[in-house]
Symmetry: C2
Subunit: 584 residues, 2 copies
């Protein structure tokens, strides 16, 4: 029957005539990471993972989690009266299909502000009776408050384009269409503002409406200092309180409104659909944001120098200690410290440090309580990144802690080759990430390996480390969604891997900047510039699996790392880097 | 004002109240190649190319041709009162846009039986007044008759699947839906029948309707011998005359009818649209046809042995003659003879033989009157193929006739590498040709080369040499059409090239069979088996552009060619092949 918290929720359900209550891990803005305030599922189910759906009935409760959380959910939820639906296993239904099968005639309660418009419409399309109501807020005790941290301006020296010009651009593109923006990265980008409402992503909770060429921003104005507030007024931004947003929407009438149905909540859709024409489209701001201008590009290069120095200092430390004295969690904190003690203002995500077989779990992140002790052999995978005013980094290195098996070296060498197959590509304008992904996998496929994730994601500028819409990922012809052309100024990760269950995991990741090269009779040629500046572990290379092209690419890369970082290093560091970047 | 033939057409137009008359190079079946009977455009415009659109007004006439025909159309048409619209040049309008711009309020006459349903609907969507009428047949003198050649059966030894089983399969898939098939290859495939109505493609003019699990075939029954006719009856095929098809359609009522709007004509659509529900979909027969069964695969291997022997004999002859004594046309006929004197019953297309700069014209085909004389230097591109009862071949080899420039060798080596990049690929099931094309181009792009055609097309079995729906071709994200997964049993060409205007053209082409390889935890792996068995010219290789992988692939390929062809050769031929296939 479940725990006391669930019982309280069920009492609310009975009062309101709700048969099934739907909860997810989202905030009001469909964010990837969310403020503490929104960790509702953790309160009711005791599940602490980052992504889940909870369905509570009057007698039962079901949590839906993906492969990385199957075991964790079992441990945390079963004893608290919540059954675990393991997505990805044969026969496991997705929440929508579960509802369709078992609750087709029930009243399904949702919090419309935390449910995407797309999901709400799916329920509607299946003729499910929806009641949009918050049944949980009066129950949760000691709830973390929403942030009231200072919202600060990122000046043109960092953004390369003033708020005024960005506003001119977007209002020009929209013409007389209205655009409702709820995505936090898009708002922060457009207004050149940042804050710290969400761990690892320097955004702030706000809504934005572009209506009749005016910008309406919904956020508490006490969060700005006076200078910023004045500048916002000067640039024509009209401020309302965060909680005035939904009532404001009632004033939007007879408009063509552009919204992204996966990025706005169902409540927004309900507020506008009757009085306006709704156009479901990706926000133009996302396209603007994905293309980094010249100033941003120059800054990003600097961010990667800082990041490279921080990583080098950590690697030098690691090289000189007895690994058996540390566990994964402690190593992760050492990397974090190295960044935060230098130039980073935050990490860009929770550092992944995984030893040997733990690295085969793709989304593994070590916790203080549950973390593997290292030893002076085997391999360590470290996927980490920093937030800088100069940009956002994301880098994976896999290093030997001592002796390793031949299969590890073979796999590492193939992964390294796969990474360079993308970064060394010259290609013709017009291609999408779906069309080049095969280059990263061909050498792995030739040996029967593959990896169950994309080759690359977009990366924000002092924003989200995972940024759409472009990516590098092949999609099955049957599930294919919209594709985005690879364009001059886009930044991608390039991160192939090999993961052998219960054995080891390897990933090599550099960030790449997509750039125009020369033009000839065939069209505009494009290339990638590698941004990341951290050496690869030469001890893991098996020359039997290298080819001339990759050797050349690796040596060139290492020379670039050495030359670029040198001015920032002391003599000991420089000597160590020289050794790490030696020619093979 | 044009020629006398056009004037006669205009007289008919005036009588019928038609302002603009639209003619194209199609037959009733939207075929790639058409019978002589349908060469209407040649009659009125004197243009002899294979693809064009003619628009005749009361005072003017315009012919629309693509890049390969710009010069030819100028020469043939201008003096006959027809203006040439050169498609692909800036500002040149496609016929549909030309009509929209200049004849929006005119009555446009078309022959609905020779206009695709898709084009007819485009006219309708643009509110163009259409009059479907044949205004040309009473004018054309000495018109070639439609074929009455014998239609013969391809036995199960060749097809691997009886007509009865194919019919069972298609009627099972369709359920109670009706399917109208006008595509000649699909009809020939489904019924295991062949004839010679169209040059190079052994099909026959017919329509086919699948209705209430019955098969109706519209073709003159005098074209079968008695045995075949009896077998058709036994298998439940109901025969009507070719000209009874359109009146038959009036009996199809209250059905869901599947048609492919690009493969049926506008007249068919008009006959059925009012009484039925039209479902526009690719024919299931095309998908069946694209996957070659085990018997077909074994036969195709044999076809390529025969083709390899014929090509080898030709290459040996060429090696021993003074090239300056021959022109392109004569060489083409020597290749044709070598095939037809051995095992081929026809060619699979008009042989392309092009010397030096002529090879830079991708669709060049030498004519008797206009053909370049060879010499004992430079390179010769030969793209040729044969029709066998055992399958259809298509092969391109580029060979040195003597000394060649270093750039030629560089380009040839890169093209060869590009070809092997596809054929050596191991990949995971689920990919489409759009996603692997980049592998063939990466080494060319790295040197600023590209080619303006797809990397590969599907190939029929004793049918059309260009067979859809699958192909190997990247599509721009903005123009992308439906993609087809690469599947076990599909046959593709693999034909990258380099074409430098006024200098030279190079293409290397092998046919590949797509096959399942092993399965492991990542899924089903796939690979290609090379079918073509003809050596590449080692004199054209520049080792500076080779890598170990390509050298290995080439040596393995040449060894396979030698071993496989050996039993079919006499001592001189064997010795010559051994030399051609020597290890590098």
């Amino acid at each position: 029957m479940g725990n006391a918290r669930l019982q309280a929720l069920r009492n609310n359900m009975k009062k309101e005539g709700v048969d099934v209550y739907y909860l997810n891990t989202s905030d009001y803005h469909m964010s990837e990471y969310v403020p503490e305030y929104f960790k509702t599922i953790a309160y009711f189910s005791y599940f602490t993972g980052s992504l889940a759906t909870l369905l509570v009935t009057l007698n039962d409760a079901f949590i839906f989690v993906d492969g990385r959380y199957h075991n964790q959910a079992d441990k945390q939820c079963l004893k608290n009266g919540v059954k675990v639906i393991k997505l990805g296993l044969k026969g496991s239904l997705e929440p929508i299909d579960f509802i369709k099968k078992y609750f087709a005639n029930a009243v399904v309660g949702i919090d419309g502000k935390r449910t995407s418009m797309a999901f709400g419409k799916q329920l509607e399309d299946n003729h499910i009776a929806i009641k949009s109501i918050d049944l949980y807020s009066d129950i949760i005790e000691n709830r973390a408050p929403l942030s009231s941290d200072r919202i600060y301006e990122l000046s043109e020296e960092f953004t390369g384009l003033s708020r005024k010009k960005k506003i001119e651009l977007i209002t020009h593109c929209l013409g007389n269409k209205c655009h409702i923006v709820s995505n936090l990265e898009s708002i922060a980008y457009l207004l050149n503002l940042r804050s710290s409402d969400i761990l690892y992503t320097p955004v702030f909770l706000a809504y934005l409406v572009i209506l009749d060429k005016k910008i309406y921003l919904f956020v508490d104005d006490k969060r700005f200092d006076e200078t910023t507030l004045n500048k916002l007024h000067e640039d024509g931004v009209i401020l309302f309180r965060y909680d005035e947003f939904y009532s404001f929407l009632a004033n939007v009438v007879d408009k063509n409104i552009i919204i992204d149905e996966n990025k706005v909540n169902y409540e927004i859709f309900n507020c506008i659909k009757d009085n306006n024409t709704v156009i479901c489209n990706r926000s133009i701001i996302e396209d603007m944001k994905s293309i980094k201008n010249d100033v941003e590009q120059a800054n990003i290069r600097l961010a990667h120098i800082y990041d490279g120095v921080a990583m080098l200092r950590f690697l030098m430390w690691l090289d000189n200690v007895d690994k058996s004295q540390y566990n994964e969690y402690q190593i992760a904190r050492m990397i974090d410290k190295s960044r935060l003690n230098y130039k980073a203002f935050d990490l860009s995500f929770s550092s992944i440090v995984s030893y040997n077989e733990n690295a085969a779990i793709i989304h593994y992140s070590p916790s203080k309580e549950n973390s593997k002790q290292l030893d002076n052999h085997g391999i360590l995978l470290m996927d980490t990144g920093g937030q800088y005013l100069y940009g956002t980094t994301d880098i994976t290195r896999t290093v030997a802690l001592g002796e390793v098996e031949p299969e590890v070296k073979k796999a590492f060498t193939l992964v390294l080759k796969s990474m360079f197959n993308i970064s060394e590509l010259k290609f013709i304008k017009g291609l999408s990430g779906n069309q080049i992904d095969v280059l990263a996998r061909q050498d792995l496929w030739a040996h029967g390996y593959d990896y169950r994730h994309g080759t690359g994601h977009g990366v924000g500028y002092a924003l989200s480390v995972h940024e759409g819409p472009p990516n590098i990922r092949w999609m099955h012809t049957e599930v294919k969604t919209e594709e985005v052309e690879l364009k001059n100024g886009m930044v991608f990760s390039d991160e192939p891997g090999v993961y052998l269950d219960n054995k080891f995991g390897i990933r090599c990741e550099n960030l790449l900047l997509c750039k125009n090269d020369y033009e000839n009779e065939y069209g505009q040629f494009m290339k990638f510039e590698t941004l990341t500046l951290v050496p690869f572990d030469l001890n893991l290379i098996d020359m039997n699996y290298m080819d001339d092209k990759t050797i050349k690419a690796l040596n060139n890369y290492h020379e670039k790392v050495y030359i670029t970082l040198l001015p920032y290093l002391n003599d000991t560091e420089a000597k160590y880097l020289k050794y790490l970047t030696r020619k093979i």
